[in-house]
């Protein structure tokens, strides 16, 4: 079974630029999550999708971050404009339903904002 795919693996941008990350979940997984992991901290949930609908985006900084999940499969997370404090690893995860159902993380995208 293929895992959760994310790209790019690394990205370096200047502050105020825009950036987008892509995630392809495990086939058949209805639920998709984006997490932000700042260096030295545990992951923090940004947004959760159930199919193509948003379930929880309470911790997403909506003034600069946006996410979509077209057709309930792939998802993109965008930051516009980026700030220095957005430097982090952005992890995507998927599960069949809740975390009792094969919750799997991707390898993440490491973003550096300079």
């Amino acid at each position: 079974e293929a895992g959760v795919a994310q790209s790019p693996r690394y990205k370096i941008i200047e502050k105020r630029q825009s950036v987008a990350f892509w995630c392809n979940p495990i086939s058949g997984h209805a639920t998709l999550y984006w997490y932000q992991q700042i260096l030295g901290q545990g992951p923090k949930l940004l947004i959760q999708f159930q199919n193509n609908g948003v379930v929880d985006d309470s911790q997403l900084p909506k003034d600069r971050f946006s996410a979509e999940r077209l057709k309930g499969v792939d998802s993109t997370l965008k930051i516009q404009p980026a700030k220095l404090e957005d430097s982090a690893v952005y992890l995507c995860a998927s599960s069949l339903a809740g975390p009792g159902d094969g919750y799997t993380f991707g390898s993440g995208t490491r973003l550096t904002v300079v």
Binding site: G40, G42, P43, K44, Q48, V89, A93
Partner: protein, 113 residues
């Protein structure tokens, strides 16, 4: 409020030593799940174990064992006879429906040859 505390920021041991990683959680819910994940230098989070709040049986999987004690809200993780490949950051996490995941800050384990 939900919270996970991993008081040990970094631990160093010599290969073949046993090591215990501590995890203390806070939640008002009676139904919840506890997890341990391993994050090697490559960055992905590797699932190790899931335990629901109604199952306090300790579990052993090879060199890994977990001690769940609801009375002290702890879910500690022990690696027996540690190996260099065990070097990673280990995260304890708490989940319940409607609150989603809360991760602890992680414990960096270094196993020296």
């Amino acid at each position: 409020a939900q919270k996970v505390t991993q008081a040990q920021t970094e631990i160093s041991v010599v290969e073949k030593e046993d090591v215990t990683l501590d995890c203390v959680y806070e939640t008002r819910d009676t139904t919840y799940y506890l997890f341990w994940y391993k994050q090697p230098p490559s960055g992905e989070l590797v699932f190790l174990i899931r335990r629901n709040s109604f199952d306090e049986q300790n579990e052993i999987s090879g060199r890994y064992s977990w001690n769940f004690q609801k009375s002290t809200s702890s879910f500690n993780f022990t690696i027996t006879a540690s190996q260099v490949v065990d070097s990673a950051v280990y995260f304890c996490a708490l989940f319940n429906y409607g609150q989603n995941f809360v991760f602890g800050p992680g414990t960096r384990l270094s196993v020296l040859p």
